[in-house]
Amino acid sequence: MEFIQQMINGISLGSIYALLALGYTMVYGIVKLLNFAHGDILMLGAYAGFFILTFMGVTPASMLVAFIFSMTICAILGIVIERTCYKPLRTSPRIAALITAIGVSTLIENGARVIPFMGPNPKQFPTFTSINYDVFGINISMVQIVVLGVSIILMVLLNYIVNGTKMGKSMRATSYDMDAAFLMGINVNKVISFTFAIGAALGAAGGILYATAYPQVQPYMGLMPGLKAFVAAVLGGIGSIPGAMLGGFILGVAETLTKGFISSKLADGVAFGILILILVVKPAGLFGKNTNEKV
């Protein structure tokens, strides 16, 4: 019984990781950039939701407004960040963009701390009164179901966009060879902007869901989930959408089961241990293609 409960705990934690990993993997897959600032977009998204919900009160309608508002704001921000910070570095060594991403992350986190209406103090995130379902002694909360549902829907949607639309095709082409994509008549700048917009919008949605599950917002709130999402994305094979999803679930379940049945003190150690084991066996992650270049 406890095992089932812990599995449910794990899956619901995993679905949050998965959701965030999706945004990570999106951006990484296309521009090969480890977007360190993804966790911070999550934070901004959560704050945007926070303002709407405090202003409008918590109703289903305001929730919807919060999602739309926060996803739009973050999508625009994502584009702005890409245009100003990453675009000039497209032809530079990749690590330069990585450092810029670290810079952007530092800037956003700490910018949020000095902006008066955000500030360094944690704030309570307004939520619905939590509804719990008790099924044969197993406890499931509404929030867990919603998060899981939304993650799966988004994954399917993303998978469709990437694999089933013309935009998705351009995205993939851009990711493989930017110059060649240009030569096919693909507007690479637009594609990359679109990617960042989607990535950021996903981050924002993730932020609101995250804050609903763990109802608190503060400027550093993106740090840990950002790291975990990074791990999940790598675990699944960076760039792979189902991989990110699976990676998130594995990470969540592994962490929870370790806490539940081995030792809560070792949870992080075990989670990373699993990551390393998987990578040693599959060096490109679970779903990553091991593209051995042809010699």
């Binding site: 812990q6 934690l13 704030k123 309570q124 089961l257 539940g260 949870a267």
Partner: protein
């Protein structure tokens, strides 16, 4: 050693090392404000030894590495004779040996780790330590709440949380209770469902959560949604929880350094003035920092000189009522004072719990 190079006429310099930026800056800024408020009061009243007092505050981001360089700067470049700080125990521990070696009086307002004052006779603090507090909560749980089975959920990567866990457990078991489960997490974790599920299985009477309010408010929500009904207990890290959590914490208790709703004139005056100056009510750490500043300046005044030896002796003679209570020092330079237990009760508005004084526990 470097004696205060400031001439007999210049201001008496006191250093302070606080996390003004970084993750716990919320505490650091309040403490800094309280220190500056105290110094301004002293100067307005004519200073000490006929000289003005100057407080130099350095930011350490709660990073021990920065604490060390800030300390060196304060002592060697600025020539301070005493330090109010650091805030967290790990930061204080990074400088206690240096302070002792250089004969710099150091009084930490809020480093509760037991070993902070171990470095020597120049190291003081204005808060009680973890052992004391853990014992207070444990005996409150056993004696007042009549709890037999206790569970603990603590931050394994935080010395504060870990220290309280150990002393609580020792005392609770000594009194005759049993600790039925002891679960942990790491700083920054947001999901505690796994641990809570496990704890729920052991059906404890009380659940001790020795951490800071921001984490506690998250845990409390998950406690409720897991349907766990044990009474939650906390320590001084819970200070401010009333403003940062909803009704889920109602019915919980925590120990604190003082209760802002107490009727003491010192408390009232401090809370009123601080609130007026800075627009927010002071938290317990601010009160402790305020007291620490006064304890130090009082001792300098009493010593009649800036000689560290003399100040140290004067510090040991402290025995006065401050905001956080009557304070005198024991042989290990820990304050001998009482703790209060406060209860969280339903406030006037829904989801805005209020704090109610519950009991004073004396050592």
């Amino acid at each position: 050693g470097s004696k205060a190079p400031a001439g007999e006429t210049g201001p008496i310099k006191i250093g302070s090392i606080m996390p003004i930026s970084g993750p716990v800056s919320a505490y650091g800024t309040q403490s800094r404000d309280a220190i500056i408020m105290a110094v301004d009061e002293i100067n307005a009243a004519g200073g000490i030894l006929g000289r003005q007092v100057e407080a130099i505050v350095e930011d350490d981001e709660a990073n021990p590495e920065k604490t060390k360089s800030a300390f060196t700067k304060l002592v060697t470049d600025d020539g301070v004779i005493g330090i109010v700080g650091a805030l967290t125990s790990k930061c204080s521990l990074a400088i206690t040996a240096d302070a002792q070696a250089r004969k710099i009086i150091m009084i930490s307002p809020s480093s509760t780790n037991d070993t902070v004052t171990d470095a020597g006779d120049y190291i003081f603090r204005s808060c009680y330590n973890d052992s004391f507090q853990g014992q207070v909560v444990a005996s409150f749980a056993y004696k007042d709440l009549k709890a037999i089975k206790a569970a603990i959920l603590f931050d394994n990567t935080n010395d504060y949380s870990k220290g309280l866990t150990q002393t609580f457990k020792a005392k609770f078991e000594e009194l005759g209770g049993t600790v039925v489960s002891e679960e942990s997490y790491a700083t920054g974790d947001m999901d505690f469902n796994a641990q809570l599920t496990k704890i729920k299985g052991t059906a404890p009477d009380v659940l001790f959560i020795p951490d800071y309010y921001n984490t506690v408010s998250l845990i409390a929500k998950q406690v409720k949604s897991q349907g766990l009904t044990s009474t939650m207990l906390g320590a001084d890290g819970w200070d401010e929880i009333a403003n940062n959590a909803g009704d889920e914490v109602v019915g919980s208790y925590y120990s604190n350094h003082y209760s802002p709703d107490a009727n003491d004139p010192e408390v009232k005056a401090f809370v009123a003035k601080y609130t007026e100056l800075f627009g927010v009510a002071p938290n317990a750490l601010a009160a402790l920092a305020y007291d620490a500043t006064y304890i130090l300046t009082d001792a300098i005044a009493k010593a009649g000189s800036t000689d560290p030896e003399a100040i140290k002796t004067a510090m040991m003679e402290t025995n006065k009522k401050f905001v956080t209570g009557q304070i005198s020092f024991d042989a290990k330079r820990n304050p001998i004072k009482s703790a209060v237990m406060v209860e969280l009760v339903k406030g006037t508005e829904p989801n805005k719990p209020a704090v109610k004084y519950a009991a004073t526990v004396n050592p």
